[in-house]
Symmetry: C2
Subunit: 369 residues, 2 copies
């Protein structure tokens, strides 16, 4: 493991992360850049095509399974602390992408982490999780083909945590996560259990597993991969793979959407809330219309451009046009915001309609013992 | 909590403890001396009568339940790392005493601790536990009236550990247990879960619970009682009570029987092993027969006297006679050893016969999911 501290990049799975330099991050933490992979992926996802998935660990192994139609798994999850927002939406789409490309699919509701880290009681997180799972189904996750579970109810995951704990020293935990309460270390061990769950005999044993996550979750991957090596002989674990997506900027221009900043909207927000939040969003625009006509805008630092790039413009051609129109000073912020608001409202409305249909199903899945 | 460090007394639940001054220990850690209780106990056990149970926490509450025939529980257990020996035998007898005096009885097989602390695989500790439970039944534990479980299979205990973990800081764990691997902290949390298990709704809710243990286990009690206060409002937990017995001396005269010193015999040892170990035991005798006839022996530091006092002489009159005969120089070590060997062999033989009858039953109980 590299000597560079996570703190330097502010990569913190239990906090709010920010990343200024994804390339440096890759080289510091031994994450491979995703770019060179792209041409080998049969049908790259939107995030892959747009460079939003910027890095990976051992994705070659997943690629081999995808191309050879061999068994592999995808696992990711959600911490049930609130409504689906544009950040959780990313992981959702990534899981669905791998499911549609043949992965055995695991969706983890990280209610132990929500409890240990955010003090959210299990009955409350159960309700939130039901909503989240309905969102997942509305987005296209196949209920019949996905193993959805709550950490607090999945004994195999808790038992893995106990087993994996043995060789772990405090020094290791401090190096990876910083000085934390025991509950957070425990939830890190449980996350390691999550990541290895697809490889247990109950799920047909060891196999390549991809974990698509935001870069802030990389400490969990590093920790799990190190443990995986220790227990390889006993369990035959294949080292889990991961992909890393960039973090979507907050509407206030800050590097990440965060609950405590209120700098995002959720998929459940009312139309007027969405309109207000996008209207007031920070942009990559200039101080005056004249300046912007002359020098163009700066989409690279614009959260309004970000939400198009990450979510609301499906066509790569269309997003390219938006980018160049902004750079050329042809597309001004006000106009762009109006376009974006239209897209968002259309999506939110359609999504809301779909998710209502899945609420009962979601409830049954989350309540299942 | 007192500022005196456990290290000063070498009270270490994960190691080998020694205690030179039980009185000072009581005052340093806020353990109440048991003596003043004795006259109030309706039928005090052998260990209580002989001052082997020297301290307690909140035993008044248990006494009240015993006298008023109100509901209370006893919980203790065994770390399944080897055969039953004279140390584990003590806890066994204490549990049985409280069971016979009306306690709802819980017997915990601490296989998670055996795994985290002693690296013993779960399938191996299962076999050891089967033997240990057969010993318990042979000693008089009522299979029908005891809830016997393995930590690794008791999800309620593991879930309690997760719940209890949240407010616990590393500083607290270090203060109570010293700097340890996470696995040992995790097993401390699971022990706290064990101690509170009898108070869950599944077992008819909050109630006084007595945990009879060796003084080396007191850190678990202090830790659990502190947590209990934090979760009192949510669960209505009654602060658990405990009794503390002195540690039985090793046959080499060292303060505790310990596997790595080989200074004890087990209930499964062959007759010739028992004979050899007791024959070679350190005693409180003098250098020469003449000196001993003149000054008498020192039973207070004699492990051969200890095993009579703790285990093999039921009658208080008989043990008193032995004590005075030794002090008066009438009973010499060789003769006493012969008496003791007879007692031990008789006990071991009878016990072996009884335990063989219980092996199948024990297997069924330990294997039960």
């Amino acid at each position: 493991m590299t000597a560079v501290s996570a703190r330097e990049h502010s990569i913190d799975p239990f906090g709010t992360s920010s990343v200024n330099d994804y390339e440096r991050l890759c080289s510091d933490f031994g994450i491979e850049p995703f770019g060179p992979m792209l041409s080998k992926v049969p049908e790259p996802s939107l995030y892959m095509r747009r460079g939003i998935v910027f890095g990976h660990r051992d994705f070659d192994r997943i690629l081999e399974s995808m191309r050879g139609r061999k068994s592999f798994a995808v696992l990711s999850g959600i911490k049930p602390t609130g409504e689906f927002h544009l950040g959780t939406l990313m992981t959702a789409k990534e899981i669905i992408y791998f499911q549609e490309h043949g992965a055995q699919t695991f969706y983890c509701i990280a209610d132990v982490e929500a409890y240990e880290d955010n003090k959210i009681a299990f009955d409350r997180s159960m309700k939130t999780a039901t909503d989240n799972v309905a969102d997942m189904f509305a987005l296209g996750l196949d209920p019949k083909k996905t193993y959805i579970y709550r950490q607090s109810k999945e004994n195999r995951v808790k038992d893995l945590a106990i087993i994996l704990a043995r060789p772990v020293t405090l020094a290791t935990l401090k190096a990876v996560y910083g000085e934390r309460r025991i509950g957070l270390y425990l939830s890190a061990l449980i996350q390691a259990g999550d990541i290895l769950l697809p490889q247990l005999e109950d799920f047909d044993g060891p196999k390549p597993t991809v974990v698509p996550v935001g870069i802030d979750q990389d400490p969990h991957l590093r920790f799990t991969r190190d443990l995986c090596k220790v227990f390889k002989r006993k369990y035959g674990f294949v080292l889990p793979s991961s992909t890393y997506h960039k973090l979507i900027r907050g509407l206030d221009g800050s590097p990440k959407m965060a609950k405590r900043l209120g700098n995002y909207f959720t998929l459940h927000d009312k139309a007027e809330t969405v309109v207000e939040k996008v209207s007031k969003a920070f942009t990559g625009g200039r101080n005056t219309v004249e300046e912007q006509r002359e020098h163009g805008g700066v989409p690279e630092k614009c959260p309004v451009y970000d939400i198009c790039l990450f979510h609301f413009v499906e066509s790569d051609d269309a997003i390219r046009k938006t980018y160049h129109a902004c750079k050329a000073g042809e597309l001004l912020c006000g106009e762009h915001k109006e376009q974006v608001i239209d897209c968002v409202l259309k999506f939110v409305k359609e999504h809301g309609r779909r998710r209502r249909k899945f609420l009962e199903k979601a409830k049954a899945v989350v309540l299942a013992p």
